[in-house]
């Protein structure tokens, strides 16, 4: 008995109280492991461990053609699948200098915004759950269902749609597409204030979010924290505004910025972005021009030798695609700079010296999608 007890204390092991949060844990939203060192309830430091869902997408892409790669990009950030598709498509189109039809640009932008809305709804739902308000989950998913129905009707799939191809779209959208979106906008404009009633004004929620995990603008830039998380720190990093692609140069919208940089600021940015997405949708949905759903492309797409770089704004930040081509139908090297990868590693800086419960709130406010980190 005594021998067994002696074995438990390994000589040289630090006396830090280390708790592993994850890989299977309700609040890491996937297979992510935080090695958290605690002092009582207070977090001393956090070491994120990743790689549990590493699939080697970059390696797999080296043996796939460009239209095939599209289907792998869905699996990175599965909540903004359409933006991931679009990044590769735009990169290939830029490389081939193909001019895609206006109709495609409009539809792509609409789908971007729908996808962003769906993603933010899910984030809101899960964020409430992280803080212990379980009811938010069902409110968020209730409204997300309508968007997924629109997706399902047009592409046949709800989450990973792979609807883009280099040059345009797989096929034309369903005739009900515009009608359904208009219905959704009308419906969601009524439902969005409900979100505020349920969570935003709540005293407990404000106590849990205001001033928690402050991230300065400098920290955000140094760690490359993009997307709503970076904009919550006052960094104007919205690529839709600063490097417009598709039809973003044709719509009016404001870039949502908050300067506090805490969990509540990141929350507010996302809530405001939902309103902005709705207004972008409203501007576009009636103006989809008639025309082809795809540009004329060769059956086998070969990129000219060279290097191509394209950035898009996903629901979580900046996705950059970097293709090195040697003139073949498969890329020589493809690199995805995924937003969550950079967003994750700031957590040690901003969540140290807060409580465990705050760590959960902060990681929730960064809106991490783990397959996007691991690729």
């Amino acid at each position: 008995m005594t021998e067994e007890i002696i074995k438990d204390v390994i000589i040289g092991e630090s006396e830090d109280y280390i708790v592993n949060i994850g890989p299977q844990h309700p609040s890491t939203h996937g297979v992510l492991r935080f090695e958290v060192c605690l002092q009582g309830e207070t977090v001393k430091y956090i070491i994120p461990h990743i790689g549990y869902i590493h699939r080697g997408i970059e390696k797999m892409c080296e043996s796939l053609t460009y239209p095939q790669i599209i289907h792998l990009t869905d699996r990175m950030d599965y909540l903004s699948a359409h933006m991931n598709n679009e990044a590769v498509c735009l990169c290939v189109e830029n490389a081939l200098q193909v001019e895609v039809p206006e109709r495609v640009k409009y539809i792509r932008t609409i789908l971007d915004e729908l996808n962003r809305l769906a993603s933010h709804q899910l984030w809101w739902a899960a964020f409430g759950m992280d803080l212990g308000a379980l009811t938010t989950f069902f409110y968020g998913l209730r409204d997300r269902e309508m968007i997924l129905d629109i997706f399902e009707e047009s592409f046949g799939s709800r989450l990973l749609h792979s609807f883009n191809t280099p040059g345009g779209l797989m096929h034309d959208v369903h005739p009900n597409f515009q009608k359904k979106i208009k219905e959704f906008i009308k419906y969601f404009r009524k439902k969005l204030p409900e979100y505020d009633q349920l969570l935003t004004g709540n005293v407990i929620f404000k106590q849990r979010a205001v001033g928690i995990g402050p991230m300065s603008k400098e920290t955000a830039i140094a760690y490359g924290v993009t997307g709503p998380s970076g904009r919550g720190s006052g960094w104007a990093c919205d690529l839709r505004k600063h490097a417009p692609y598709s039809a973003y140069d044709k719509v009016q919208f404001t870039e949502c910025l908050e300067t506090e940089g805490d969990t509540y600021a990141r929350y507010k940015v996302r809530m405001r972005e939902m309103w902005e997405s709705l207004s972008i949708l409203e501007q576009l949905v009636d103006n989809i021009p008639e025309g082809d759903y795809t540009a004329k492309m060769k059956p086998i797409i070969k990129l000219p030798a060279g290097e191509f770089f394209q950035r898009v704004e996903t629901a979580r930040g900046e996705l950059a695609v970097y293709i090195v081509s040697d003139g073949n139908k498969t890329p020589y090297r493809i690199r995805f700079r995924t937003p969550n990868f950079s967003n994750l590693f700031v957590i040690n800086t901003i969540a140290s010296n807060f409580k465990i419960a705050d760590l959960v709130a902060i990681s929730g406010s960064l809106d991490l999608v783990i397959p996007d980190i691991d690729r």
Binding site: E4, D8, Y17, V19, H25, P26, S27, L38, E41, G128, M129, D130, L131, G132, A133, L134, T135, F137, F138, Y139, R142, L198, L199, N202, I204, F205, Q207, R208, K355, I356, A357, D358, L359, V360
Partner: protein
Amino acid sequence: MQNLYDFSILTGAIHESLSRSMSPGWVTFTELVIIGLVFLLFFALLGLFLVYLERKVCAIIQNRVGPNRVGKWGLLQTIADLIKLLIKELIPIRKSDKFLFNLAPFIVIIASLMAMAALPFAKGLHAIDFNIGVFYVMAVSSLGVVGILLAGWSSNSKYSLIGAMRSGAQIVSYELSVGLSLLAIVVFSGSMQLSAIIESQANGWWIFKGHIPAFISFVIFLIASTAEINRGPFDLAEAESELTAGFHTEYSGIKFAFFFLAEYINMFIVAGIAATVFLGGWMPLHIGSWEGFNHIMDFVPPIVWFFLKTFFIIYVIMWFKWTFPRLRIDQLLTLEWKYLLPVSLVNIVVIAFLVLMGWHF
């Protein structure tokens, strides 16, 4: 009119028929066995029903239907769940303290069973009518934390330990507010005996008779007792988004069911005490001099009144569990030590003054 539903006639008859055939010692023993069996049965059925109710209430709040497949309106769902829990494997934890690990669920469930003994369900339907009933309930219901601490410690799991320590801090703090808010009514009624407290509300419930201070006590009692039974938004001991399941992370099967059941029974006890002390227990609702109205109210059996009030409070407790986010541990303690405790202390002084001057009804 009250005598129509007086259960002491029934219990007295049982006592007499037993006395005729047995010696007094055996009578007491038999009565203990009967009461024990009745309470165990009630305990299990109540637990099952409360789980069902919780699922339905939460479903309504969350725009869902809730259990609706097993039995009529899903009524048998919890029984199916119970069977599942009963036949599930009890996973032994390596390097856990086996004895304490197995003991903990029993302590938790025995504490809540003991607390229920003092609840007056109706006139005469009362397992033991202690002359210090309020004190007894408070003392016994806080025994449960020993089981929670043991569970957290003996599981040899870090999540469990953190959960248990949180629970310890929480209950030690909130016990004060629970005690002080109950003390308010003890001051009003001049007795700690639960039946006497109910009798003192024959002409009006304390929440109405006691002016604003009694209402403040009621609200404080609701908040503090919700914290004491580890329910949301104070469910830090088992905060599933932080500690997976807190102190019962490592428990499975029937041992987990014990914790689960005890949590719901505790909710019932807390609601029952609140109903008894603040809302007049099984006393019907009487409004001033409306003779006709009061007369109709008297026809509703006291046991129905008791359960109506209790389930109303249970519904309120469920309502805010499913609406609010969870507090953080430091905010939880701040709430108690900086707000609830001073407010209750001042409240007690005000109530004592009210009683001294005879200003309550």
